[in-house]
Symmetry: C2
Subunit: 218 residues, 2 copies
């Protein structure tokens, strides 16, 4: 069973604890705030309140023996996040994921040894924007080098048309990976099936192609 | 051209401003912090510093004429976020997206009229967890009702095998939407093509299926 150490139980850290627990990972949840630790104890194998910049206490949590250490301390305690990350590296943690509050903080975290650095607010804002710009785009996320996968409500102009007629890959550079129709998910849509009102398309495409499509057909 | 009003230029709000600008949306960026407003002026059509709970100033920004209003004020000013959202609703904004700092804040924002409420940190933590639990899962995001789309490095056991042999839909309940091979993205993988080391699979599946697959083949 995998073991994770998660430090910092704000919205991001707590959500990581809960989700890792759901995935069968054994989690030790840490925060200097005892109330947040108490809340986490429902989902974490162990939940302990201590200052994660205190070397003795952090050492007892055995970072070296964890498959994964997450420093989820946020923008209200940047020095703590930097010091905690540095200590985890010093203690031989094999995989340290650190949260950055901005690009400068990110540079520092990488320099002092975080293996992965993330900025949840910034990433979410980028992904969320296509949905904001085009209401029919329910969600869009980045994949691979320059791809996106999008969930798109069928444009009115496509109702009753077939995939063969629409020639989406050739004409628009997009591929339909799946169609959600009512309760069902059709994972290999047939070329001669007419698309139906209410269909939701799961589209794989190069970055920006779906936005272009929506500009034309929204 | 679509018009957006974005209030609150922290990491999330600023990222929304930049991304909307990239998508060709006209943005007015607002923050009480003049320095953040100055930074946003590079990406926003208009960038103005004022207190978004001041009814007169907010009224001048014309929420009613915007396709979209985003209240991106964070957890450090919850009352401001609530008041600003309420004012936008009162002024007839057609589509208000409000950011919540926790579930209680979310309930309040919905009650006072936000059309959509989001919690970026919490959502990111949920999505990020599968990547944390299984290193071969580079990314996984939710789609539709209970689907996920995942980016997965090919498990060693599948190298040299063909999709026909592996019978992934039948045996594991997953569908390969695309394969990234080197620089290329193969969007309709052929059933008799052997999979190659280094391949990255884009997988469509019901929630939890990819995690099950990784438990078996990681
Ligand atoms: N030295 C420390 N040791 C342990 N926990 C800490 C330390 N410093 C801060 N924390 C905890 O990290 C958590 C998250 O940090 P912070 O409050 O900066 O971000 P947040 O904005 O509340 O988080 P989120 O955006 O995820 O909701 C808090 O619960 C805080 O108590
Ligand atoms: N009344 C207000 N009017 C306008 N802007 C405001 C008001 N109150 C707060 N803000 C701005 O909202 C922005 C984001 O809010 P806050 O500082 O609470 O969150 P944050 O944690 O910095 O944001 P993020 O997590 O997105 O980085 C800040 O730039 C702040 O100046």
């Amino acid at each position: 069973k995998k073991q994770a150490l998660v430090i910092g139980l704000g919205q991001f850290g707590m959500s990581v604890v809960r989700s890792l627990d759901d995935l069968g990972v054994e989690v030790m949840a840490v925060d200097s705030n005892a109330e947040r630790v108490r809340y986490a104890s429902e989902f974490a194998e162990e939940a302990v309140a201590f200052d994660a910049t205190d070397e003795a206490s952090l050492g007892k949590a055995g970072p070296k023996n964890r498959d994964l250490c997450v420093c989820a301390i946020g923008d209200e305690a940047r020095e703590a996040s930097i010091l905690c990350t540095a200590l985890l590296r010093q203690m031989g943690a094999a995989r340290i994921i650190a949260r950055a509050a901005d690009p400068l903080h990110e540079r520092i975290l990488r320099l002092i040894g975080a293996h992965e650095v993330i900025n949840p607010e910034r990433a979410f804002g980028e992904w969320f924007a296509t949905h904001l710009a085009f209401r029919n785009v329910r969600a869009e996320y980045p994949f691979g080098r320059a791809m996106t996968v999008s969930e798109v409500a069928l444009p009115a102009a496509f109702v009753g048309r077939t995939l063969a007629e629409l020639a989406l890959p050739r004409k628009h550079g997009i591929t339909i990976a799946a169609i959600q129709r009512g309760e069902d998910t059709v994972v290999t849509p047939r070329p001669d099936d007419p698309l139906e009102e209410g269909d939701v398309l799961i589209i794989v495409a190069l970055k920006g192609r779906v936005a272009k499509l929506m500009e034309r057909y929204e």
